[in-house]
């Protein structure tokens, strides 16, 4: 690269030694009248077109853009360049060569496919990453066309929003990430703790707990009648109904203040989570 640069400068110096550079002052000419003035320059330089003039350098610098013809060169610039090309043999040849390169490249045919790779590709996908999908929760029958596909996505989104309103819905949402499920479980226990730390909550819960205990007892009795497995299950349910008692006692023994502390922490965690979710949503929206 360096060598080429030096060479160019040398050439310019040589050129300067023979011929006087154009007497016209550049800056004033680069205004509106540039097209006309370059035309004048061209005529003045035409007899010496064998040596590269400053104008040729400018034209060659923009020759690629002229070939590309994508609007990067303003029409009046393009007109001036074409005017130069009609009288400068060297620049015209370069322009012609570039055009031919482009047309040769564009006419290169697509090679035929030596094999159909689809079978091999699907086989390798099956072997290397078979169980990757489904990732999305869109029912396939809703996503058959692009319009109904969009609709399906929207429907599934609003369904998700609806589901989020009930705890059961949240826990049954397989698409929810693990950590948000943990937060939801935390919220559930926080509510439970609130119940346990207040007098009326305990009263309500006491009644509920004894009901649950009754149910478990009943289930245990029912399953006891099934041979072999039944005995084990009955034991399990009996143990569960005992543990309900244990739980109740534990809750009553631990201080109400400690419970409130835990509740407060959970509430803060929930708040942070919802703010985070809100930001994510805003990010996705725009």
């Amino acid at each position: 690269m360096e060598n080429r640069f030096e060479k160019q400068e040398e050439e310019k110096q040589d050129w300067g030694a023979y011929v006087k550079p154009p007497q016209t002052s550049r800056p004033s000419q680069e205004s509106e009248a540039s097209a006309q003035s370059s035309g004048e320059q061209l005529q003045r330089f035409e007899p010496r077109s064998e040596t590269s003039s400053a104008l040729c350098d400018i034209v060659r610098e923009h020759l690629h853009a002229l070939v590309e013809n994508d609007g990067a060169i303003r029409p009046e610039q393009a007109a001036a360049m074409f005017a130069h090309l009609t009288i400068c043999r060297d620049c015209a040849r370069e322009f012609d060569e570039l055009n031919r390169i482009v047309s040769v490249l564009n006419s290169m045919p697509l090679s035929p496919l030596p094999h159909d790779y689809s079978g091999l590709i699907m086989l390798r996908i099956e072997r290397e990453m078979g169980g990757l999908y489904p990732l999305m929760d869109i029912p396939p029958n809703l996503a058959t066309s692009s319009w109904t596909g969009e609709a399906a996505q929207q429907t599934s989104q609003s369904a998700t929003q609806l589901n989020n309103r009930s705890l059961a819905g949240i826990l049954s949402q397989t698409a929810l990430p693990l950590w948000s499920r943990v937060v939801m479980l935390g919220a559930f226990f926080a509510t439970l703790l609130l119940f346990l730390t207040s007098a009326w909550g305990r009263a309500t819960l006491d009644a509920t707990l004894s009901t649950v205990q009754d149910w478990l007892h009943q289930i245990a009795q029912a399953t006891a009648e099934i041979p072999l497995l039944g005995a084990i299950t009955a034991e399990a349910f009996n143990a569960l109904s005992q543990s309900v008692h244990l739980l109740e006692e534990t809750y009553l023994h631990i201080g109400a203040n400690a419970m409130r502390g835990v509740f407060l922490d959970t509430a803060i965690a929930m708040g942070v989570y919802f703010i985070y979710q809100g930001r994510q949503k805003a990010k996705r929206a725009g």
Binding site: H64, A65, V67, E68, D70, A72, E94, E97, L98, R100, I101, V102, V104, L105, N106, M108, P109, L110, S111, P112, L113, P114, H115, D116, Y117, S118, L120, I121, M122, R124, I125, E126, E128, M129, L132, Y133, P134, L135, M136, I138, P140, N141, A143, T144, S145, S146, T148, G149
Partner: protein, 199 residues
């Protein structure tokens, strides 16, 4: 609803079906674009065998990353992005392999003395195989110029699409394109003159 399936499904739909677990939808995408991907690989790598492997790797990698595909983008441009990255990786590993055996330092712009080097271009032109000469001239371009030329002229992509596929500013894509054409002009001059004489 049923009549819709008679019409050719869009790429975005097929991607969505694939994500829903429908593998035949992905098979349709492979059938639709394997030839384009093969051609990009063939012009970049220069031989059919490596290009076939690259087609497979591209579609397998695309399958794995399908969830990250933005459905409003062009699937083919996205495929080209994966394929051109794989091509560059492949060419780099070739380079390090041959650098071990060859002492010669390969600078950009200098013709690498690899297996793709063309024999006398004139001979091939005489045989009427201008395309062959052009193919070999492309092989000998520096990678980043090569991929831009291949995408622009052989894959018929716009400068903007190339910029997206290669994560480059459009200005850089154009600069690479212009430099590449300049190099090709120098290297293909004898072949093109011969072709012009023949006509």
């Amino acid at each position: 609803m049923r009549t819709v399936t008679l019409v050719e499904q869009s790429d975005a739909e097929l991607v969505r079906h694939t994500l829903c677990g429908d593998k035949s939808a992905y098979n349709t995408l492979v059938l639709r674009y394997q030839r384009q991907v093969y051609n990009l690989a063939y012009r970049m790598l220069g031989n059919a065998e490596d290009s076939g492997d690259l087609v497979q790797d591209t579609f397998i990698r695309a399958y794995g990353a399908l969830a990250s595909f933005r459905q409003d983008a062009s699937f083919l441009t996205w495929l080209y992005k994966i394929a051109s990255n794989l091509c560059i990786d492949q060419l780099r590993s070739r380079k390090t392999r041959s650098a071990l055996s060859l002492d010669s330092e390969r600078e950009e712009g200098r013709e690498p003395a690899n297996e793709n080097r063309c024999n006398a271009p004139e001979d091939m032109a005489v045989r009427g195989a201008v395309q062959e000469v052009v193919h070999h001239a492309i092989q000998n371009l520096p990678e980043r110029y090569r991929q831009v030329v291949v995408m622009r002229h052989l894959q018929d992509m716009s400068v903007e699409e190339i910029a997206t596929a290669l994560d480059l500013p459009t200005g850089t894509v154009k600069t690479h394109l212009f430099r590449a054409r300049e190099m090709l002009r120098g290297r293909l001059r004898p072949a093109l003159e011969m072709e012009a004489d023949g006509k």
